[in-house]
Symmetry: C3
Subunit: 294 residues, 3 copies
């Protein structure tokens, strides 16, 4: 929780007129093997807000020695020579772990395929923590592709580290938890309730966490069309089930599963607090790991 304790200070840095020098003189490599504009831009902004500079290497398999057949390990060794830290996005699970075995500089995992996306999990947890001042005794509704959704699985794991949380997992039956995941989560310290229709949404949950059903997970377009946007966060749904303090979250991008009519609702955190917290939490992480902040 030391990380979360630093976030308000990061927030105030972005509002101050005096620029931060926490990362002054530092060079951070953003090595992104696949597109992710939000993660990329929020990390880049975080470095710059703290006074650091970036080396930005996007799609190195096209623009680089990688296209000449260089190994991943050699690429990591190269960029660590030029910089104080590598922020790595890679389509392959385990890439960040491999990189950190190879490198002497810190590696931050900015998403490794079906593996982890730890800073996304941190910003989601922080958004809830900021609202309630705690990460226990909470009730949440998680919606979307419960079967494959990486952000959902991370949030379940994260909240299971705190006591007395209850999560409703709302999805089409085709996208419910796998047996393996269900078994894993049951062992953890968290109550999981799987639901498949709107009328089972509990009243007044503390947060709703909506997600996109990722088209790229489906083999046929038909299968995708069948399940996408089965549950849409609309004004109507809000009026029926949300409490006055229920916050609405989404990792973004959204493609129809939240209606724009909800955007101006003060409980809609997805376009405001949650995006911003993405930058603040990453700033806090950089400040702790590289900036010598205790």
């Amino acid at each position: 929780m030391n990380l979360f304790a630093k976030v308000p200070r990061m927030k105030s840095i972005t509002q101050n007129s005096t620029p931060s020098k926490i990362l002054s003189g530092k060079v951070v490599t953003l090595l992104f093997y696949e597109p992710s504009s939000r993660t990329f831009a929020s990390f880049a902004a975080a470095v710059k807000r703290l006074g650091g500079q970036t080396l930005e290497i996007i799609d190195p398999t096209n623009f680089s020695s990688v296209s000449k057949g260089e190994s991943f390990e050699d690429t990591i060794n190269t960029f660590e020579a030029y910089s104080d830290m590598i922020i790595l996005r890679h389509p392959q699970k385990g890439a960040s772990e491999n990189a950190s075995l190879q490198a002497m500089v810190p590696i931050i995992n900015a998403g490794d395929g079906i593996g982890e996306h730890p800073t996304q999990a941190l910003l989601d947890l922080y958004t809830i923590y900021e609202q309630y001042g705690r990460l226990e005794n909470l009730t949440g509704v998680l919606t979307g592709d419960i079967l494959n959704g990486r952000t959902i699985h991370s949030l379940i794991r994260g909240l299971s580290l705190f006591k007395n949380n209850t999560l409703y997992l709302l999805s089409p039956r085709e996208l419910k938890l796998s047996d393996a995941d269900r078994k894993e989560f049951i062992k953890r310290n968290i109550s999981i309730i799987e639901i498949h229709k709107e009328s089972d949404i509990p009243q007044n949950a503390d947060f709703w966490y909506w997600t996109r059903v990722q088209k790229e997970r489906f083999i046929t377009n038909q299968e995708y069309e069948k399940v996408k946007n089965k549950f849409i966060l609309s004004r109507d749904l809000v009026d029926k089930y949300a409490g006055k303090d229920t916050i609405f979250m989404h990792p973004l991008p959204r493609v129809g599963e939240i209606m724009p009519e909800v955007d101006l609702d003060p409980r809609a955190y997805y376009l405001r607090n949650q995006i911003r917290n993405g930058m603040y939490v990453r700033m806090a992480l950089l400040a702790l790991v590289l900036g010598g902040i205790k």
Copy 2:
């Protein structure tokens, strides 16, 4: 004219040994949906010359959530969360206006298709203003695609805000003003004279503004070949019609309509003063809007 009054100070910043801190601690997003190296680089340089940092997002429809179907509005909301200003280049008319309705940070239009490209207009006007100390009582020759040329239309509108200006519009008949534009300009406070052959160029105009006939506007290559480079700025043309103070301008890139033999003529402003003013004027704009310069 407050903007123009700041330009000399910007010029001196780039020559000073003491770096500017006017945008120190600020992060500016360059969100470019289509290529424009000159506009992109001059804005990026302007931010950096003033001590700010940039988030550079080029072609977001490929590298980003946009490719996952995110709306333009959500993209704008994302980048405004990470930065203090968005400089937007977009192929669609009205995009910047839409963005500014959506965003709480300032949006600068860096060109929106057949819409406007206001900083280009400003740098063109400033280049004339710097030379003559006024924007009235001027005579100019504007050449190229008078029918479609965005920079030409902007310059006509800009100069019509000042009194007693006369503009000769030189083009092949196929590329003369549309009736609608002619009507609009006639209502404005400016004299327009349409000409179609070299021998009608007036002696000793205050400025010549040459432009490229844009290939991408033509359906067939044949139509393009017929009209491109009908009027070429050559040493011969200069000797016949230019005065000793006539300045030669071009928004660039050029592809043959100005001969390199003219480049070293001291009146050739297109490769020197005009490009440089592009950066200085953009610096002044950034300093006024974001840097707290009054």
Copy 3:
């Protein structure tokens, strides 16, 4: 040698907690017409380590006025207007020389096709110099595509400026020196010994300089397969021929010609000292040319 004398100071800058201000307020354009991740990143890092900022223009033939048919000269004129220096990578021999004739700002050649890649040569020479405190009375083994290898030719020329050096050139016969090059090198002040089998490698050379056989030089894949990796730097080879102080160098990327089993050998400089020297030497160059360091 003034350049080399500055390198240790550059090294200490990257380790200092006080950021350098040597390039503070300066903007350096990286104009790269072809991919080269290592050269690109080390130059960008060098600028930033010294407190400067970069304009990074990659593949301008796609993203820029160049695609509209702009001449190389106009592109150079544009970027020199926005920045204090241009670092140019171009596939065509002589491009940097042309640019420097055109521009008033300094141009640094970051590789021009089959022409030169001077900063690579400098970092190679510096790596040897750092190890031995001299660039004379040295024995080296150079391996790979001796016929076409630009880095090998530069290293031969560089070492021929100092006295009493002996170089063994190890290659398949298909890739031995051209007659023209042999004649040129013989005239220079250096001993060249061409060898074609491992058993001719001298014992205890001062350095081994391995290179990749570049696939792109061959017309058929068959020809390439025949000669690639004929000589592999392996533990076995090291045990047989290397001395206890022989250093192992490679300009990278490697694609099989050095086995990973050698990476942890303290004499393996290719993944450590040599990559890092690439950044330090470029920093020293920037500091001398643009930073006012004497």
